[in-house]
């Protein structure tokens, strides 16, 4: 990234990005409790916290998968979700994880939409933090919140992030190459 290539910069130097510190123990305990609460209260859609992405990745070590961020309030998301549902139908081995960038208040609506799109078999999460910016920073510093946002993880978990609706053919060829 170098915006200066195309435009000049408004004066001054941007701060060097600070490195994310390791999660404090307190936060770990808190997130454990949040997760437990989640499992007790809601099996269909789980609350996505700062360390949830690590959980999702750890559980899929050595496996390719698609991580899809969406929202009930995103007009382009239905197209993306329908494409993913079709893809899942054609490739039963394909593992898709869906994370809604909404709030737990929207869970009933999210459940309804997932059913409508035919995505009930997929793991579902919903942003559960009053500060979505904290979650976005943990997921990808260079994701600005646009939706849908999709990450294609290969088996080594090298990931490719893409914003917007991904053409069905592109997804198809990715699956053929990476999901065995």
């Amino acid at each position: 990234m170098n915006p200066a290539k195309r435009h000049s910069r408004v004066g001054g130097n941007p701060e060097k990005p600070r490195r994310c510190l390791p999660q404090a123990i307190a936060r770990l305990v808190a997130s454990v409790l949040v997760s437990l609460l989640a499992f007790a209260a809601q099996a269909e859609i789980r609350p996505f916290a700062v360390d949830s992405l690590k959980q999702i990745e750890t559980a899929r070590q050595g496996k390719a998968f698609i991580l899809g961020f969406w929202s009930a309030n995103c007009t382009h998301c239905p197209a993306e979700l329908r494409t993913l549902a079709e893809l899942a139908k054609r490739h039963p081995k394909l593992d898709i994880v869906l994370v809604a960038a909404d709030t737990p208040a929207e869970i009933p609506e999210l459940v309804r939409l997932a059913e409508e799109y035919g995505l009930t078999r997929q793991a579902q999460w919903v942003f559960a933090d009053a500060q979505p910016e904290r979650l976005r920073l943990a997921i990808d510093r260079r994701w600005y919140g646009e939706l849908p946002r999709t990450y294609l993880y290969d088996r080594q978990h090298r990931r490719e992030g893409r914003s917007g609706v991904i053409p069905a053919e592109a997804l198809e060829s990715w699956v053929v190459e990476h999901v065995k």
Partner: protein, 395 residues
């Protein structure tokens, strides 16, 4: 106990990998977690607020609590507020987060308030409006301003008041609803010239706007409202446009952000005494994502100048021209604090002050507002943990 918790947690980790969930041991009560969150949202003030100064220098605020919008004012720059007056007496679901923001303007004794009523249908809303004639003590019965009554998008309203009346502008899906070939939505406006008692027929300003980014609005030299929005150029390029009400649009950014997604990230517009337009916006275009500022004087488009730290999610900027000087504010998140950063133009030769932090908070925060009274330029920033942050930028 701890080890038992950790075992449970480990089980949770493992099951995260299973597509079909089967927690037979503790059959969940679906929706409980949702209910708790919803209750919290219904009882606490929502973060997205509106603020405005009146001629006497009093700071007015509109905020949403539960299903009502409340207005109050402060004579000491936000330290204390008068008792809040409910604008809508009948409850309704009100959008008040991020890009969907309540609107407030004060002209003399008139207090104008506008908001989006969220409908149960996806992406659907109505543009709502009420006015007080008595300095905010009582409000008229709210009206729906969009004259298309279908449960579709009429949302993201912006408002501009002046001594002659009030103009609303919003994103409207009436032309595109049910028409798959129609790209995006449209910008519609409505004007009241009788102090908000009635509105003239809705008027389309432009076809093919992006669907979910806040609008900017400012008065031109002759008082005509100028609207600034994210447009869809061609098939899918989501760059910015502006237009005087009743006139054709002008493309004002050429980032080439081609994407069929919802950026949820609008821009802001200020118009200086000399008629020059000052715009700030966000683009995700691959060859130069981030925040930009540009000055437009007639047909002359200034250079787009980048600002903000991309690795700290720089976003949601505001711009103001105060006593001839351009000021920018925007939000960043450093992993611990939400903060409001600022820069100001040092001269007309694109020289700028170094970015500085104006305010920060550890919790959730609204986007910044940058407004002025007769004497000063202020940052107004609503935060969950530290309340309303008010900072004087100038003088």
């Amino acid at each position: 106990m701890v080890s038992k918790l950790l075992t449970l947690f480990a089980a949770g980790l493992l099951s995260a990998g299973v597509a079909a969930h089967d927690h037979a041991a503790a059959k969940p009560v679906a929706g409980d977690y949702a209910k708790v969150w919803l209750q919290k949202q219904e009882s606490a003030p929502r973060l997205a607020i509106a603020a405005s100064f009146d001629e006497q220098g009093r700071l007015w605020r509109a905020r949403v609590v539960g299903r009502q919008i409340f207005v109050s004012h402060s004579t000491d720059a936000g330290r204390h507020f008068s008792p809040e007056i409910a604008v809508n007496r009948e409850n309704e679901l009100i959008s008040a987060d991020g890009e969907a923001r309540p609107q407030l303007a004060v002209v003399g004794q008139r207090v104008y308030v506008s908001w989006t009523q969220a409908l149960p249908q996806p992406f659907a809303g109505h543009v709502r409006f009420a006015v007080s004639e008595d300095g905010g003590q009582t409000f008229s019965e709210p009206v729906t301003v969009n004259d298309d009554a279908r449960p579709i998008t009429h949302r993201f309203n912006a408002m501009l008041a002046d001594p002659q009346g009030v103009t609303l502008a919003w994103i409207d899906k009436r032309d595109g609803s049910g028409n798959r070939d129609y790209t995006g939505a449209a910008i519609y406006t409505a004007r009241s010239s009788d102090g908000g008692k009635s509105f003239a027929a809705n008027q389309k300003l432009a076809d093919h706007s992006c669907e979910c980014c806040r609008l900017g609005i400012a008065a031109d030299g002759d008082g005509t409202p100028v609207v600034f929005w994210r447009h869809v150029f061609g098939k899918n390029i989501r760059d910015f446009a502006l237009a005087r009400v009743g006139e054709p649009l002008q493309r004002v950014s050429e980032d080439g952000w081609e994407i069929d997604a919802c950026p949820h990230h609008g821009g802001a517009l200020a118009i200086a005494g000399d008629g020059a337009r000052h715009i700030v916006w966000f683009t995700g275009a691959a060859n130069g994502p981030g925040l930009y500022y540009r000055r437009i004087a007639g047909a002359e488009m200034g250079q787009a100048q980048a600002f903000g730290n991309l690795d700290q999610q720089a976003g949601h900027p505001q711009v103001a021209v105060f006593k001839g000087q351009v000021h920018l504010v925007w939000r960043e998140y450093d992993g611990k604090h939400n903060q409001i950063r600022t820069q100001n133009a040092v001269d007309r030769k694109n020289r700028w002050s170094k970015p500085q932090t104006l305010a920060k908070t550890t919790g959730a925060a609204d986007d910044p507002l940058l407004i002025s009274d007769q004497k000063a330029l202020w940052l107004i920033w609503n935060t969950a943990n530290d309340g309303l942050q008010v900072r004087k930028l100038m003088p």
